[in-house]
Symmetry: C2
Subunit: 267 residues, 2 copies
């Protein structure tokens, strides 16, 4: 998907919401367990209930992988079910030496036909460039993550005066363009967004961490928005587990709508 | 698998060789393509030909993932085929926020029953500790990798005077023990091994990068060996693609034997 298509979608739907499909079979409504593929059935109903309110879906690959082959089948059906004009993100945090990253790119861009994948930067340039070789596909690099553990290394001060996460943004943004790279910045780091926007003013940011993780939506938008909006704000558990009975999908819709309405104010 | 069992194996086989199963269907001998599961058949023959010479097998998950569901089936059959006394490594480079890393741990330690998994440290402590909760399973953290891209971030100088990879070793080694953590150090970084051994004298190191990537085996052993040997040295392409006809497995055995014989000199 092109950058222009993403921006068009945002203005058309008045939303920059991404719904995270962290679908855990132990957390979905019990009545779905009688169906042949409960995880896909859950996702299908969430997608039906939210597809006019969001511009992206982000399946968290770990949740599918942990179910073995059945999980990959559910994932494939889910991806095929998502309407073509909605951006898809494989939240996979991959990254390895060149010949291996090439295989990960093949997995998510060809085998499963995602529009984008999240990647971890520790192994550096040649671990990320193989993902950038696909046209109209996106590489979403971890910048400053939403978890407590982001302090372990991302916030380390470097000899040259900046922090590691700032160096990651600065260096890696030269490997691609604003049209094939995005960055993950946690919503719990809203205060850092002003500084981050000085380093990468134009890139889209994928922002997880509102909802269950406690990030403040308005603060994130105010500090992170740019001329092209430049934000995909994700909520996973807050939306998909809003209800737990036969009406879970309307509960999810209600939660998605609340966020979407807040977003519309900024568009 | 316990640390003692690994050490016993090393002395029993006079080897600390790990064979990397980076099995690429486009690179295996053509006659295998007529069989039902060519990737598994290839691995099976490599395992049969090398299992008395090595103490670990390391499937590179990207190569299986990229084949979709068929790949995961081949992987599962491969893991089940590896003799129980041989250490298994899921080379997966995973790592995410706590609830997601928990799912990745479940994937590789329960669903696929690997003894260990490689993990990327960028997301910090709570992205790694979920893997450490399994008893007799191992978490292998990226320290200093073999690729050129290791220079991008791992070699950055920190304000406090050390390099990022040294800080990763120092901090993360406190999260687990020498009996449930190992580190990846590339064979191309043999000179750094002396310094690395000062930080983590007792941990096992998983060392890729001899063979195709050009690392020097003797230099790696001399600089990295400790009282418990403390090394698992991996070769992938150099062994598994040594031949390309009906006798490919004996060619692989020859290559594995050459490395094993060099290793025996140090035991």
């Amino acid at each position: 998907m092109t950058r222009n298509k993403i921006i068009e979608q945002i203005h058309h739907k008045k939303s920059f919401l991404c719904v995270g499909l962290d679908t855990d079979i132990s957390k979905i409504p019990k009545f779905l367990l009688d169906l042949e593929d409960p995880v896909f059935e859950f996702n299908k109903r969430i997608i039906d209930a939210t597809k006019d309110l969001c511009i992206a879906y982000k399946p968290n690959i770990a949740f599918y992988e942990s179910m073995g082959i059945a999980g990959w089948k559910s994932l494939k059906k889910t991806i095929e079910y998502i309407p073509e004009d909605i951006f898809t993100i494989a939240d996979a945090k991959r990254g390895d030496i060149g010949n291996t990253s090439k295989k990960y790119a093949e997995t998510f861009f060809s085998t499963y036909n995602f529009d984008s994948i999240t990647v971890a930067p520790y192994m550096g340039e040649d671990s990320i460039t193989p993902f950038l070789e696909y046209s109209n596909k996106w590489t979403i690099v971890l910048g400053l993550t939403s978890n407590d553990g982001s302090k372990s290394f991302q916030n380390l001060a470097l000899e040259k005066g900046n922090f590691l996460f700032q160096e990651v943004l600065e260096s890696s943004s030269k490997w691609g363009t604003k049209s094939n790279m995005m960055y993950v910045v946690g919503a719990t780091k809203a205060k850092d967004l002003l500084e981050i926007r000085k380093i990468i003013p134009e890139h889209f940011l994928l922002i997880p961490g509102i909802g269950a993780q406690g990030g403040d939506l308005d603060e994130v938008i105010k500090n992170g928005i740019n001329n092209d909006v430049g934000l995909l704000i994700n909520s996973s558990r807050g939306i998909i587990y809003a209800g737990n009975d036969r009406n879970f999908d309307s509960k999810s819709r209600e939660e998605a709508l609340k966020i979407k309405n807040k977003m519309s104010n900024y568009l």
